[in-house]
Symmetry: D2
Subunit: 229 residues, 4 copies
C-alpha cells in the first residue's frame, strides 16, 4: 500500500492538521501553497514535501502535478482549500479582486480537480475533497465575491460527484460552518470548543477518505456545538 495525498492551499491551520492526520495513517503528503517557505517546519514534522503553486494559474498547476508525478506518483487523495474572502458592500468591491476571488476559490478548484482526475481515472479510484464554508450554501450581505466563489466550488463538487462516483472516484464537499481556531484566532479559555478544532475537522476528512463505497457522502457540514459570539 503506497498512498499519497496532495493538499492544495496549505497553511498552519486545517491543512497542517490534515497533513499530520494523513501522515499518521501512512500517507506520503505533498503540500502546495503560493509561498512554501512557511511550510518547512510542517514538512520536517510530517515528512511531507512542499511544492509552490498558484492554483489559479493553469501553467502553475501543470508544474505542480508534474512534480507530484515525479516525486510521489498519482495521488490517492487531493484536498482543495484555497479561497479568497473579499469583504465589503457591493458598490465598494474592486473588480480585479472579485475576478481574483473567483479564480482562487473556484477556477483553481477546477484546474486542480481536472489534473487530479486525469491521474485517478486510469486506476478507477481516488478521493477529492473540497473545503467549503457557510458561504457555500448561503449568500451573506457584504460578501458577494466570497459567495460567488464558494457557491461555484460547490457546483463543481456536485457535478464531479455525480459524474465520477460511478467511475470509482469519491468527490465530497465539506461545509465548515464556523470559525476555525488558530494562532490568530485563539479559543476562549472557558470554551475551547466554540471554534472548530482543525484536528477535529481533519478526523472528518479522514472519515470521508475511508468511507466504504456503498455508502459515500457527497457533502457534510461541520459546526461547533456552541456558537461563539
Amino acid at each position: 500500500m503506497d498512498k499519497s495525498a496532495l493538499i492544495v492551499g496549505a497553511g498552519s491551520g486545517l491543512s497542517a492538521a490534515l497533513a499530520r492526520a494523513l501522515a499518521a495513517r501512512g500517507y506520503r503528503c505533498a503540500l502546495s501553497a503560493r509561498n512554501v517557505e512557511k511550510l518547512s517546519a510542517l514538512c520536517t514534522e510530517t515528512g511531507a514535501i512542499a511544492i509552490a503553486c498558484n492554483a489559479a494559474e493553469p501553467a502553475s498547476v501543470d508544474r505542480l502535478f508534474e512534480q507530484l508525478d515525479e516525486r510521489l506518483g498519482a495521488p490517492s487523495v487531493v484536498v482543495y482549500n484555497p479561497s479568497a474572502r473579499v469583504r465589503g458592500a457591493l458598490l465598494e468591491l474592486d473588480l480585479a479582486k472579485v475576478a481574483e476571488a473567483l479564480a482562487i476559490s473556484a477556477y483553481g478548484g477546477f484546474l486542480v480537480a481536472q489534473a487530479a482526475v486525469k491521474r485517478m481515472l486510469p486506476r478507477k479510484e481516488g478521493v477529492i475533497l473540497f473545503t467549503g464554508a457557510s458561504a457555500s450554501i448561503k449568500g451573506y450581505a457584504q460578501s458577494a465575491a466570497f459567495a460567488m466563489g464558494k457557491f461555484a466550488l460547490r457546483g463543481l463538487a456536485q457535478s464531479m460527484a455525480r459524474e465520477l462516483a460511478p467511475q470509482g472516484i469519491h468527490v465530497a464537499h465539506v461545509v465548515i460552518d464556523g470559525g476555525i481556531r488558530s494562532a490568530q484566532r485563539p479559543v476562549p479559555a472557558d470554551n475551547p470548543d466554540s471554534l472548530l478544532d482543525p484536528n477535529a475537522i481533519a478526523q472528518n476528512y479522514l472519515h470521508l477518505i475511508e468511507q466504504q463505497r456503498s455508502a459515500w457522502s457527497w457533502e457534510i457540514e461541520l459546526r461547533p456545538w456552541v456558537e461563539r459570539f
Copy 2:
C-alpha cells in the same frame, strides 16, 4: 466507561449492523421493536437486551424507558429507525394508514427523543440519531404519506439539533439515499456495492457518535457509488 445505546426500530438490517458495531466498541445495547422475538439471535450474538415497544404509543415508550432505566441506565446513544412507507396515488391512500405513517415515522421519533433527552440533559451529553431517507428531502410522486412522515422527522431533528447542541446533546439526521442490501434485497453478484451495506452505514453512525464537539454534523447523506437500476 459504561456506555449504553438504545436502537429503536430494530430488525435484521441496519439496526443489526449498528448493534454489532456498538457492541464491538463496548456499548451495552438495548434493541426495541414491536415484535422482539425476531431479535433473539441478535441479542445472543451481541449481548443486547430486547424490549418490546410500539414507538408511536406514549405509554409504550414510557415503559420502554422505564425498563431501560432499570436495566442499562441512561442511554449514551439513541437511534430512531422506524418509518412506515405507504405507497400509492394520493386518491388511493387509506386515511388510517396515513395517520399511522405519520405516527410511526414522526410522532414516535418525538416520543423517543423526548424521553431520551430527559435522561441525557442532566449529564449534558448524549447522541440522538434519526434515520432518514431520500424522501426526507424530496417528496416523490405516489409517496405522499412517506414524504410527510420523513419530512416531519427531519424537522424534528433540525429543531432539536439547534436547541440541544449548546446543552451538549448531539442530534443528527442521516439521509440514506438508496436501497439497503438485505436478505430480501440481495446485492447483484457483479456489483455488491450498488446497494448500501448496513455495516458501511453503521460505520457512519459510529463516526457521528464519536465526532468531537467542536465539529459536529447535524445531517449527513449516504449513497452508493453507483445506482442500481
Copy 3:
C-alpha cells in the same frame, strides 16, 4: 366561467385578504374554520359562504366537501392555511399538543387535499395552495412540534406537485418568511412594510393561481424587504 374557491383555516388575516382578492376576480368563495361565527362580516362583504369544519377530522372534512359539492360544486382553487404553533423546550412539550399540532398542520392538509383532488382530477385542472412558514424549511429551537407539522406539509406539497402536475393540477407551497400584520400585530408607524401585508401575500396566491401551465412554480418564498426586530 364559474370559478369557485375554498379557503380552509379562514380568519381575519391572510384568508380574509384572499377571499377579497378572489371575490374581486369573480370567484365564488367558501370559507372554512372550526368556528365560523367570526366570519359573518367577511361573508357579507365578499358573498362567501361559511362552512364549519375541523380539518384534522376525516368525518368533518367529508361533510365540508359534501356541502361544498351542493352549494358551489367542485372547487377550482383550494387553499390550506391551518397550523398549530406549539412553543417550548422539547422537554416541556405536551404529548397531546404535539399530536394535535401534527394533525392540524399536516394531516388535515392531507385530508383536504385528497378530497380536493378527488373533485379536480376528473376535470384535469385545479389549483391547491399550502401556506407554509419559515419553519417549513428550517427547524428552529423551542419549536419542534411546529417544525414537524410544517415540514410534513411541505413534503405533502412536493409529493403532490410531482404526482399531480402532469394531470393538470397545480400544487404549490408558499413559505411566508416573516410576521403578517394584523389587528393583533400592528405595523410600526414608521415602517408599515416590515410585516407582510396580507393583501400583498394574496396577490402572490393569485399569481400562482393564474400561472400558465408551461411555467408553474411549486414553491415561492415571501418576506418583507426589511426585518422587524
Copy 4:
C-alpha cells in the same frame, strides 16, 4: 412615471418576450448583447434601443451604462440573462472555455449588477433579476463549468438580496427548470406546454417586478406542468 428597463443577454427567446411585456407596461427598454444586429426587428417592434456589450468585460459594461445614462437614465429594472453552457466530461473541458463560462455566467452578472446598483441606490428603489437554470441548484454530470457559473450567479443574487433589500432594491433569482420553446426548439404539436413558453416566463418576471415590498420573493422556480422526454 418614467420607467426603464435594461435586458442584458438579449436574443430571440426569453428576452424578446420580456421586452414585449415590459414595453406593454410602459417601460422604455434597452437591449444589450454582444451582437446587436439580430435585435433590430425587436427594437422596431418594441421601441427598445440596442446597445452592444460584452458583459464579461468591465470596460464594455462601463460603456453600456454610460450610454444607458445618456439615453434612458437610471434603469428601474435590470435583467441579467447571459450564460455559457460548456458540456463534456470533466477531463475534456477546455481550460479557456471554463474560464470564459465563469466570466459570462457569473462575473458579468456581478459587473452589471454593480453598475445597476450604483444607479439605483440613490433612489432607494429598483429591481434586479438574474436568470438561473436547473443547474443553479443541482450540479449535473458532464456539466461542471455550467454548474460553476450558475451556482456562482445564485450566490451573487442571494448575497445581494440580503444586502440590498433593506435599501429598497429587490434582487431575485429565477430558476428556469426546463427547456424554453424557441424557433430552434419547437414545441411538440400535441403538447405545446411541455416546454416553457417565453411569454409565460415573462409574466413571472413582471410579477416579481411588481411585488409589493412587504412580500418580496428572492427566488422562484418555474417548470412545465409535464416534462418533455
